[in-house]
Symmetry: C2
Subunit: 456 residues, 2 copies
């Protein structure tokens, strides 16, 4: 299943300069934010949906793999041509097609950058909440393909909660419209969510209709310092049970704190602390004021030191600490393996204790930070090259523990190529059988993203 001369000729006729075939041009499309590397046979840069459809017709005829790619920020290898073939890059299909103020919807091409959409909507007082860490340079199409989340998931949900309908090109070039164009509708089976998080294995997105909401008027960010690691989780449970729903609740564990030492220098007076929570409240001025009062009352009762940022600029500065984590983690080990497991919130404390024991026993640093609000932690193993073998076993132990605690091995990054061997650990044979049947239903020749997401 590679591209032959005839296939190349047809693609060239269709795309001209926008078919890349020279090695140096292909290189940027051979990796993503994982450490994987797979070289494509060619890269297509379509500008119109008709071209995508035609590419799928050609691929169907010659039977070569098609791998959809947004901006390549995936951490799992999902936009990589594992078995070669043609990468279809959506970077040039990046138009915001229609903002409908009456419906509060926006229709976009898949290549629109999440952050650019956010900036555009802001001018109209509107808001598209999903905010993966990569939002400044990841595309909506890629976000939909992975079902991307982000810190705001706690209050606002993830990408799946904002996709109203999709126009999807299927292998062979047929175009499927999923769902009605209205806010409600129950005539067809609801296929839209099947494609959200499908990681390019079922079809290519041509247009995406998103729900948007009014922009919250006010934000306030708290940074809270806990003397013991798990107290952060207990505190989070307590405020949720009170009925408070922060926009974000981001956790930073003890190991990660070491990497953040310099960034946290200004706060070293906050007594010794072992973990942090970033809690952002948002809403109307009145709502934030009221929620803050309730929130601070408990903070003071519990005597946890905290700081707060009230102005947009201060808030962003404080969030910088959280955003600095991923790059700074390199300090703790030459190599890093990052996972994004998700647990029921009540299992977080037990899981963290398990990680500490594992850290102690193995001598390998384990950092666990992220979206505690919805139970989603980014677990990073930080190690030197020579410890590679131990690390594989650690990772397996971690996944086993996650599943034992009724969690999932991926909350928002997806399976891609990296986690593919572990899918059979999480899903039972019937779930896998049905996934495979669905895959065959939409892609009978198996040309879309081979060896991604689905187990063999």
């Amino acid at each position: 299943m590679r591209l032959n001369k005839e296939a190349f000729r047809e693609l060239k006729l269709l795309l001209g300069d926008r078919l890349l075939t020279r090695k140096e041009d292909l290189f940027p499309y051979s990796f993503d934010a994982s450490s994987l590397f797979f070289f494509p046979d060619g890269v297509a840069l379509p500008e119109r949906k008709e071209e995508v459809i035609e590419i799928l017709r050609i691929a169907d005829y010659y039977e070569f793999p098609i791998v959809a790619r947004g901006c390549g920020t995936a951490t799992t290898g999902s936009p990589l041509p594992i078995t070669g073939g043609l990468v279809v890059s959506f970077t040039r299909m990046n138009k915001i097609l229609e903002l409908n103020l009456e419906e509060r919807t926006v229709r976009v091409e898949p290549g629109v950058i999440n952050g650019e959409l956010k900036a555009y909507l802001k001018r109209y007082g509107l808001f598209y909440p999903p905010d993966p860490a990569s939002y400044a340079f990841s595309s909506i199409g890629g976000n939909v393909a992975t079902g991307a989340g982000g810190p705001r998931g706690l209050k606002y949900g993830t990408t799946k909660d904002y996709v109203l309908s999709l126009e999807v090109a299927l292998p062979g070039g047929k175009v499927l419209k999923t769902g009605p164009q209205t806010l409600k509708g129950v005539v067809p089976y609801n296929l839209t969510p099947l494609f959200v998080g499908s990681e390019g294995t079922l079809g290519l997105f041509l247009e995406i209709l998103l729900k948007v909401i009014p922009l919250p008027e006010k934000r306030r960010l708290y940074l809270i310092f806990f003397p013991e690691e798990v107290l952060a989780f207990h505190f989070l449970t307590e405020i949720l049970k009170m009925g408070l729903t922060p926009a974000s609740a981001e956790f930073v564990d003890k190991t990660t704190l070491q990497a953040l030492r310099e960034k946290l220098e200004p706060y070293k007076d906050k007594a010794p602390f072992s973990s942090l929570l970033f809690i952002e409240l948002d809403g109307s001025f009145e709502e934030v004021l009221k929620d803050s009062q309730r929130f601070e009352r408990i903070l003071k009762e519990r005597k946890y030191p905290f700081i707060l940022a009230d102005e947009e600029e201060e808030i962003e500065r404080l969030w910088e600490i959280r955003r600095a984590i991923s790059p700074l983690l390199k300090k703790l080990g030459a190599k890093k393996i990052a996972d994004d497991i998700t647990l029921p919130r009540r299992a977080l404390s037990e899981f963290l204790k398990f990680l500490r024991d594992l850290e102690k026993a193995s001598g390998i640093s384990i950092s666990a930070f992220g979206h505690a609000g919805d139970g989603n932690l980014h677990v990073n193993l930080l190690f030197e090259e020579e410890k590679k073998d131990i690390v594989r076993s650690l990772r397996e132990q971690i996944f086993k523990k996650v599943l034992e605690l009724c969690g999932t091995i991926s909350g928002e990054h997806g399976v891609g190529y990296l986690k593919r061997p572990f899918v059979i650990w999480e899903l039972d044979p019937l779930q896998i059988e049905i996934m495979k049947k669905l895959k065959s239903l939409f892609d009978p020749k198996g040309i879309l993203n081979p060896q991604i997401k689905l187990p063999d």
Copy 2:
């Protein structure tokens, strides 16, 4: 495909008294809230999921139809045995299995009544928003099967936005768990929403995991009187564009007002009015106060008369007017055909004008009321027996107009048996082909709800 003696014998062994076969016992299961009537061969009243699974094994072996039934409040015939067979009633599987306060989730059996779940959650300060008009006597399982909506859809979405995962029994008795048990998760394809709104055609629900949210602290209800019908829609657009999101925005048109005359007697001083909007605001005290101020400012600028209810009891009394509509409509004609079309909000005015022209030309009363907030109107044709033929043509004209305006012929009631002939008007051949393939994937012998939802 009817039940034979052996099938009955096996079912009897399994269910004992809870297999109904006497004509008088079957009668209550032969109709729903539509005017359709189909007699089952038998009715099963399982109490445990193992029994449902076993019923499906038996049905698979003898190949007879299985029709799932909640409380029979469907308006489309979806819980009716069109081709005979066994009705599986879930009324005895009505336990609330687990409330998880940390996760804000509740796991229920399908027979739990929506209103009872609401009352149960209220004790914990929690809230399950979907509120079909039937909520006091419809089941969660039925709500999930139809993808039920209700007035609160505008702010809170519909059933699909609250179902986190399902345990589904498939034909033959296999049990499929859809989605992770965590708040986020992207390992499997997201199958949960495929079953929401599937109207019993893909599988039977054994357990349902729902997301719940904190109960809003305060409600306030406005009833607004408009001198011209479409001004209600213009006003609604205006407040949505301001960034206000009411919990509900319910519209009552001119024709419906005739049926409500007595109920509205206390408000006849409100100058002549042609339509109404019920607008409910909810949230924290502060939020509702603030939103009310902004809201009343516009109301006063536009000089629309209004009344408001601020206390729980008053609010419910005012909502009684809205709830009285369906029963009172009978006054306008001996027969009633009810549809629940949904349009993009900006098309509502044009659609209403179209209905008025149709009413004038045909002499048949057309009432259009309901969830204007999300573009969902209940269109009722009210007529005397002898006008039956004209009515069929009117209904077809209405559906055509709806589709021309990019709407859908069902926003929340589903297709069932009644709207089945019109599915091909709304969906294109590829959409239908994929629906049929999905149906075959889950139910290869076609024993689940034959002749419901899918076109021939």
